[in-house]
């Protein structure tokens, strides 16, 4: 195993009764990276994290940390630390005692404990709260204490289980920035579990998307966003959500045609027919992101603007095309009005084609 790899999961499976929470997943995490496990609730991401932490033992598979098989080892011998979703700051201990907990267990001398706690408290700006009882802290202090408690024992991997879900939007943004900065400054390996796709995209060096216990795609945020290999990922990641059109593909002359229940649409003109030839006649779901659709005079599909939402310096234009509604991004100053008849063009290089039955991507770019 390469020295670059700090954590390896090998064919991990975990069942709770008849439910398969984690289904044969394997991945590596590299030293010093921020790795995210993303997925909807109940997808097995937290269970995976708890298996890494040693709080659950897998029914099958192996966990390696730093080239050592730790599958059978209890949590305390793994050199990892976990920041819980609700922080789990001990309410009966002061902030100092909370941070010092792991050091006291390790029987460090009083001076060493004090020195280390002070260092970490300084780093996380907790020095003013050291005497406050854990139960009296606000949310963001609780989070800091939970992180400080982990950092002070210098774990090989810091695990975080949806640490920002409790915070409100503005605080969350700040905490997210601080977390990322902390991770980069300290060069610590972090594994971060979240169901918030935006958070995952913004934080991760690499991310894994999970669904129903399976790992379905692993890659950089760019790859996941730009080249989702399943319909599920395409719809799960990205906001506003990706547009979908369902139908049968065909090629007429040099045009790509989609036949839906309602009618035929020209998806693209002047296409390289060789690329799409093998897809003719197949039932597909087309996916294209709102930023990859443009309103233009030479557009191929006609529709009516239903309504417009302003989102910062962009606006989200909802165009009704027969029974479908297509969302597209336009500049704030673009002179569109509700009720206007428009034509739209899809950026063919950003078109995702998924198999209707399996949801898998059938045209690799």
């Amino acid at each position: 195993m390469s020295n670059k790899i700090i954590l390896r999961l090998e064919n991990i499976t975990k069942r709770f009764g008849s439910v398969v929470a984690v289904d044969n997943i394997s991945f590596d995490v590299y030293r010093g990276e921020l790795f995210t496990l993303l997925g909807p609730s109940g997808c097995g991401k937290t269970t995976t994290l708890r298996i890494i932490a040693g709080l659950e033992s897998p029914d099958a598979g192996k966990v390696y940390i730093d080239n050592v098989d730790v599958t059978e080892k209890p949590a305390r011998e793994r050199d990892v630390c976990l920041v819980f979703q609700e922080y789990a700051v001990f309410p009966h201990m002061s902030v100092f005692d909370n941070i010092a907990f792991g050091l006291k267990i390790r029987r460090l001398s009083k001076q060493d404990i004090k020195k280390k706690v002070m260092e970490v408290a300084d780093l996380l700006e907790l020095s003013d709260h050291l005497n406050t009882k854990g139960g009296r802290l606000g949310l963001s202090e609780q989070q800091k204490v939970a992180i400080a408690r982990c950092l002070v024992v210098e774990p090989k991997i810091l695990l975080l289980d949806e640490p920002l879900t409790l915070a409100d939007a503005r605080v969350r943004e700040r905490m997210r920035r601080e977390l990322k900065k902390l991770q980069k400054d300290l060069g610590i390996t972090m594994i971060y579990v979240t169901h918030d796709q935006l958070e995952a995209l913004m934080l991760s060096d690499r991310m894994a998307v999970m669904r129903s216990g399976k790992l379905i795609q692993l890659g950089s945020p760019e790859e996941i966003y730009d080249n989702p290999n399943e319909l599920f990922i395409a719809t799960f990641v990205g906001s506003p959500t990706i547009n979908l059109l369902e139908g049968v593909l065909d090629i007429e002359k040099d045009q790509l045609i989609l036949t839906t229940d309602a009618r035929k649409y020209v998806i693209g003109r002047h296409i390289n027919t060789a690329i799409y030839q093998h897809l003719t006649g197949s039932e597909v779901i087309l996916g294209f992101r709102p930023e990859d659709v443009k309103i233009s005079l030479d557009g191929t599909i006609e529709g009516v603007i239903k309504f417009i939402e302003v989102a910062g310096d962009k606006k989200i234009v909802h165009v009704k095309i027969d029974d479908h509604e297509i969302r597209l991004l336009a500049d704030l100053l673009d002179p569109f009005v509700e009720g206007q008849n428009v034509k739209i063009n899809i950026n063919m290089s950003k078109l995702h084609i998924f198999d209707k039955k399996t949801g898998r991507k059938i045209l690799k770019r």
Partner: protein, 284 residues
């Protein structure tokens, strides 16, 4: 406004009646304990000629000349008081310690299974009198009659059920994440229990301890049957009503003394009772 006023008055009336209803016997007991022999059967709330004779009779029965006819019957109350203290404290410690670990297992690992746990409660649903005969037979065999160790064992065994159920509620309320956080920080399971669970369950330990203590402190039936010379306080109190005559005033003094100890204990631990539920944690 008027309706509010009336309902307030009604509320106060109900409260006053309730308070009088609960406190009158206690006040009567206090008053009786200071009344001389001649006033025991008079209905006056305050003693006409207050006296400490009843208390002297409690501690120095041989020198209480007023009750000369009874002195031969009674021992000083100090012995039974000390015995009761020993029995109650030991029974409390045993029941709370066993109760805590059983409750922990039940709460975290569902360990004795729901039926066993319910079964422990089931045994408490029968009137204690049903156990008297078998216990006497056992204790005769085991040579535990008239032995305070026998009472300690019996009291801790009968109260441990309550300790389990009270403590299980408290432990259930402690999020398991706190224990997991401690495990991850490097603590061994026993360290987790002593550093995290016990401090957090402290109010539960105090409440169940107080409960067990009071039950052991006031238990009369088994103490009456199982002891002859090594009697406990409730038995001693009962003995002031003798075949020769009832020493109501002395009994009241003994009862007052007997309620002082739980009151002191309650006062000392009330801080824990109040702070018990204010962790300040907001979940979800």
């Amino acid at each position: 406004m008027v309706r509010n006023y009336i309902s307030n008055i009604l509320l106060w009336l109900i409260l006053v009646v309730a308070i009088i209803w609960t406190l009158i016997p206690v006040i009567w007991m206090i008053s009786l304990s200071f009344k001389p022999y001649g006033e025991w059967r008079t209905p006056s709330l305050l003693p006409q000629k207050p006296t400490l004779d009843n208390y002297i009779m409690l501690f120095w029965p041989k020198s209480a000349s007023v009750f000369i006819a009874y002195t031969a019957l009674l021992e000083p109350i100090t012995d039974s008081l000390i015995r009761s203290l020993i029995v109650s404290v030991l029974a409390t410690l045993i029941a709370v310690i066993i109760g805590f670990f059983t409750a922990y297992g039940a709460s975290r690992y569902n360990s004795p299974g729901p039926f066993t746990l319910f079964f422990t409660l089931l045994t408490r649903m029968l009137p204690p009198a049903t156990f008297v005969t078998p216990i006497v037979i056992y204790y005769t065999t085991l040579n535990l009659l008239d032995n305070i160790i026998g009472l300690v064992l019996l009291y801790s065994a009968t109260t441990v059920t309550y300790a389990i159920w009270i403590l299980k509620g408290f432990i259930d309320a402690i999020p398991v994440e706190w224990e997991e956080a401690a495990l991850i920080e490097g603590a061994k399971p026993l360290q987790v229990i002593f550093r995290v669970v016990i401090p957090l369950a402290r109010p539960g330990l105090v409440v169940s301890g107080l409960f067990v203590f009071l039950m052991s402190w006031t238990e009369l039936l088994f103490a009456l049957v199982l002891t002859r010379i090594n009697i406990t306080l409730p038995v001693q109190i009962s003995m002031y009503v003798t075949a020769v005559g009832a020493l109501w005033g002395v009994q009241a003094a003994a009862a007052l003394l007997g309620s002082l100890i739980p009151m002191i204990v309650g006062y000392l631990i009330q801080r824990h009772l109040i702070t018990g539920f204010t962790f300040g944690l907001v979940r979800g």
